[in-house]
């Protein structure tokens, strides 16, 4: 098991390096840098000034060098003027006015310096931490509603394959997988928060949830995130349950006179929930897309909103940090689901 985990961690680290380099490459292209120079130093500066701004602020080195500096394995050069005062460079971003000898030589992700957000004018770590908290709340509620509901629906549908209950619930699951967040969100708001139907049970914006999430302002976003993923988990649970119900030991349990209920609850359920476990873990990266959409639709300033703001405002450090977090979450859930699957399923032996 230990060897398996170490090997997986190695592949994971390699994947993470490749992915962050791709993101770094795509966010640090020449047009991005020129746009950044113009937003930071004034829109009317000449091309020569743009070039000197890029050089002075440590964006001029070759791509791989800059990637190493961003990672924190290469020292970042510091630009100084004639008097030896620091005027620019990677490590000076976000801390203007530091004396030249106080500026650290390494200031990458590994040192905990994630850069400075040009959009929010704060260190990226602060922005990300605050927003991860908000999105964590949304995700936690979404998971707390989605997973139990999906498991119940899946088990009920799968315990008697082909029954009317199965058909009805399966159609329901297909319907929810066909309803992406931007569709269900629009329908929910139109039904429960608009002046058209007039129900107005909930608010159509979750902006006020930043101060405190209430039933009124948080229900619609949570329901919207939960709905799309629910059908998929339910379908996986149903398939797994249906397969378990045809197994020999279930027949044996029935033949020895156990009631259907006891068979389902005591014998089938545990084995039927192994496969959905993996699916539930792998929902995390899927949920990220949902979270971005829901946060845009319901104006909730969370992690997804940071992604959109970073991308739309050419906020390179913020976008990079968002990508790193997203990539780590995806890879970690993949690893966890593999380990969990191996642990839960006694038939799998990992050397």
């Amino acid at each position: 098991m230990a060897g398996f985990i170490i090997r997986r961690l190695g592949v994971m680290a390699l994947t993470a390096l490749c992915m962050t380099f791709i993101v770094f490459l795509l966010t640090n292209l020449q047009p991005n840098l020129e746009k950044l120079a113009k937003t930071q130093a004034g829109a009317r500066i000449t091309d020569a000034e743009v070039a000197s701004w890029i050089d002075r602020n440590g964006y001029g080195a070759p791509m791989l060098t800059r990637y190493g500096e961003w990672l924190g394995v290469l020292p970042a050069p510091l630009a100084t003027d004639a008097d030896g005062r620091a005027v620019g460079g990677r490590c000076l971003r976000g801390h203007p006015g530091l004396a030249a000898d106080e500026v650290p030589r390494f200031c990458g992700v590994l040192q905990g310096d994630w850069g400075y957000s040009t959009k929010f004018r704060r260190p990226v770590t602060e922005v990300i931490a605050e927003r991860l908290q908000r999105t964590g709340l949304l995700m936690a509620w979404a998971f707390a509603t989605m997973v139990p509901l999906a498991l119940i629906v899946g088990v009920l549908a799968g315990m008697r394959e082909g029954s009317a209950l199965d058909r009805g619930l399966s159609t329901l699951s297909i319907a929810t997988t066909s309803t992406p967040e931007y569709v269900s969100g629009v329908i929910f708001v139109a039904l429960f928060a608009s002046s058209m139907v007039g129900l107005k049970w909930f608010t159509g914006s979750a902006k006020s949830a930043v101060e405190g999430a209430t039933f009124q302002n948080f229900t619609l976003p949570v329901a919207t995130v939960a709905l799309y993923g629910m059908g998929y988990i339910a379908r996986m649970t149903r398939a797994s349950m249906a397969e378990v119900m045809t197994a020999q030991y279930i027949r044996t349990a029935r033949l020895k006179g156990l009631s259907f209920r006891a068979v389902v609850l005591r014998h089938a359920l545990r084995n039927a929930l192994i496969a959905p476990f993996t699916v539930i873990m792998l929902q995390f990266p899927w949920l990220l897309t949902g979270v971005v959409i829901v946060e845009a639709l319901f104006v909730y300033p969370g992690f997804g909103d940071a992604l959109v703001q970073g991308a739309q405002n050419n906020d390179i450090d913020l976008l990079l940090a968002v990508s790193v977090v997203a990539v780590i979450v995806v890879l970690a859930t993949q690893l966890l689901s593999d380990i969990g699957y191996a642990l839960l399923n006694p038939r799998i032996r990992v050397a």
């Binding site: 592949v11 994947t15 490749c18 992915m19 993101v23 795509l26 966010t27 292209l29 047009p31 991005n32 746009k35 009920l156 029954s163 009317a164 209950l165 009805g168 159609t171 297909i174 319907a175 997988t177 066909s178 309803t179 992406p180 931007y182 569709v183 629009v186 329908i187 708001v189 139109a190 928060a193 608009s194 002046s195 058209m196 159509g204 029935r254 033949l255 006179g257 156990l258 009631s259 259907f260 209920r261 990266p285 990220l288 897309t289 971005v292 959409i293 845009a296 997804g304 992604l307 959109v308 991308a311 050419n314 976008l319 968002v322 990508s323 997203a326 990539v327 995806v330 890879l331 993949q334």
Partner: protein
């Protein structure tokens, strides 16, 4: 003229009928699972399993079926009644049904044809006997025909017809001066005073032009790379699998934001990606003909030549916008969207094809072909691929639905397509700001996306069931 009502003259009779059917359906849908559960609890041991559901469950089940039929009948009555009553008695629904007459005609004709030749059509014929599959097929065909006849159906031009005074108007609003044009905005006007109904119908054309084609390209890429990865294995498999997992580990939305920003487009990244991705169909077809007709050189030369000439022409036009005759080209926005959707989908197809190949290559007929001395590409393309068609067909349908969702996501964030494009995602994006006050401009395209994707998923489900049965 006054505003149209939803149901017109039919309303007083049909609305109560519809409400009754809905109430009955809700009651039955609540009662039936309870009755079933109660039945299970009463059954102690194997006898209960054999005797099936109890009398109460049978009763509620029958009620459920009956109320479903009643609901379907009421809805059909809205449609047919709306088509038949005189124009002045038509409500919004009746008028929409009338505008959609080419769709009903073609739907009826195609279903009649399929039913007539059911025996000879194989899987397609079997689909009609499967309720989910038939409903899915009907939904998909509805949108296909709506896209085909969009010009006849839409009363207004989706982009240029901006009529003063129709901004954010509710459904059924008459035009202020209807001279020579259709008299109403059937589903209201959007924030730029364009007809919501016409835009939804025209949006079907955009979505159905991109989604199936992009899915097909993703399949070409996935098959061309997945077959050798699964069949040959080794370093090639290791490398390709690593790359596929790399792309799959990116959250889709992040990839979209990275690929479709103006800076990336300015660097020409989408064009280079198109240059690489659009090569795969050419490679695929060339290998396909070459491996099959190696023993018949004239035929092989003719097929490969035709593929390369035709394909090369399309390739130059689509990917590089360099068609020497100036006929084939792809608008820049569409190309970007197309490429990013293909890029996101191709790795999952690769994984599916690779898995299927790993499974099938251990079969006896593959060993027989190897003993016969067939080349690896012949075995991959003419022995393994045809035997993997069932799961691939199901995945193809599912994936068109998923691609439609992805296109909507791109539109929702205003990425790629032009802001005035009538496609559904862009329309939702345009209307979501005023959603709480003017819900129809985003609601109509939202329901359109949902029904098309639902149709695709039901169709895939029906196909899976029918192909398992065979």
């Amino acid at each position: 003229m006054e505003r149209l009502s939803w149901t017109g003259a039919l309303g007083p009779w049909l609305v109560p009928a519809l409400e009754a059917a809905l109430v009955a359906l809700a009651l039955a849908a609540l009662a039936h699972p309870l009755a079933l559960l109660a039945g299970y609890r009463l059954g102690p041991g194997p006898e209960a399993a054999r005797s099936g559901p109890g009398r109460a469950a049978r009763l509620t089940g029958g009620l459920l079926r009956l109320s479903l039929w009643a609901l379907a009948a009421a809805l059909a009555a809205f449609l047919i009644g709306g088509l038949l009553v005189p124009p002045e008695a038509k409500g919004i629904l009746g008028r929409i049904a009338t505008r959609l007459w080419p769709v009903w005609l073609s739907l009826g004709a195609s279903f009649a044809l399929v039913a007539l030749f059911r025996r000879r059509l194989g899987l397609l014929g079997h689909l009609l006997g499967n309720p989910a599959g038939a409903v899915g097929l009907a939904l998909v065909m509805f949108w296909v025909f709506a896209a085909l006849f969009a010009d006849q159906i839409a009363p207004f031009d989706p982009i240029t017809d901006v009529i003063a005074g129709m901004k954010n108007k509710p459904p059924g609003t008459p035009l202020p001066a209807p001279e020579g044009t259709y008299g109403y905005y059937l589903l209201g006007g959007d924030a730029l005073a364009r007809d919501v109904f016409s835009r939804a119908v025209a949006g079907a054309r955009v979505v159905l032009a991109i989604a199936p084609a992009a899915t097909l390209f993703a399949f070409m890429v996935g098959i061309t790379l997945g077959l050798p990865a699964g069949y040959l294995g080794g370093r090639l498999d290791l490398l390709l699998s690593f790359l596929a997992n790399l792309v799959l580990a990116f959250p889709v939305i992040l990839l979209f934001f990275l690929l479709v920003t103006p800076e990336i487009v300015a660097m020409g990244v989408p064009t280079y990606m198109a240059g690489a991705l659009f090569l795969f169909p050419l490679i695929f077809l060339t290998i396909l003909w070459n491996s099959r007709f190696r023993t018949r050189p004239p035929l092989r030369a003719a097929l490969i030549g035709a593929t390369l000439v035709l394909g090369g022409w399309l390739y130059a036009g689509l990917a590089w916008n360099a068609d020497p005759f100036g006929v084939v080209s792809m608008p820049a926005g569409v190309l970007i969207v197309f490429v990013s959707v293909v890029f996101v989908n191709a790795p999952s197809v690769f994984r599916i094809v690779r898995g299927l190949t790993l499974d099938i290559r251990t079969r006896d007929y593959v060993a027989a072909a190897q003993t016969r001395g067939e080349g690896p590409w012949y075995i991959m393309l003419w022995e393994i691929l045809p035997n993997a068609r069932g799961p691939l067909l199901v995945d193809f349908c599912l994936r068109i639905g998923y691609t439609t969702i992805l296109l909507g996501t791109l539109g929702f964030f205003g990425l790629g397509l032009a802001p005035e494009s009538p496609d559904w995602g862009t329309s939702i994006n345009a209307g979501r700001g005023l959603l709480q006050f003017v819900p129809f401009p985003p609601l109509v395209p939202a329901v359109a996306i949902m029904s098309l994707v639902l149709g695709m998923n039901l169709l895939a489900d029906g196909l899976r069931e029918e192909s398992l049965r065979e």
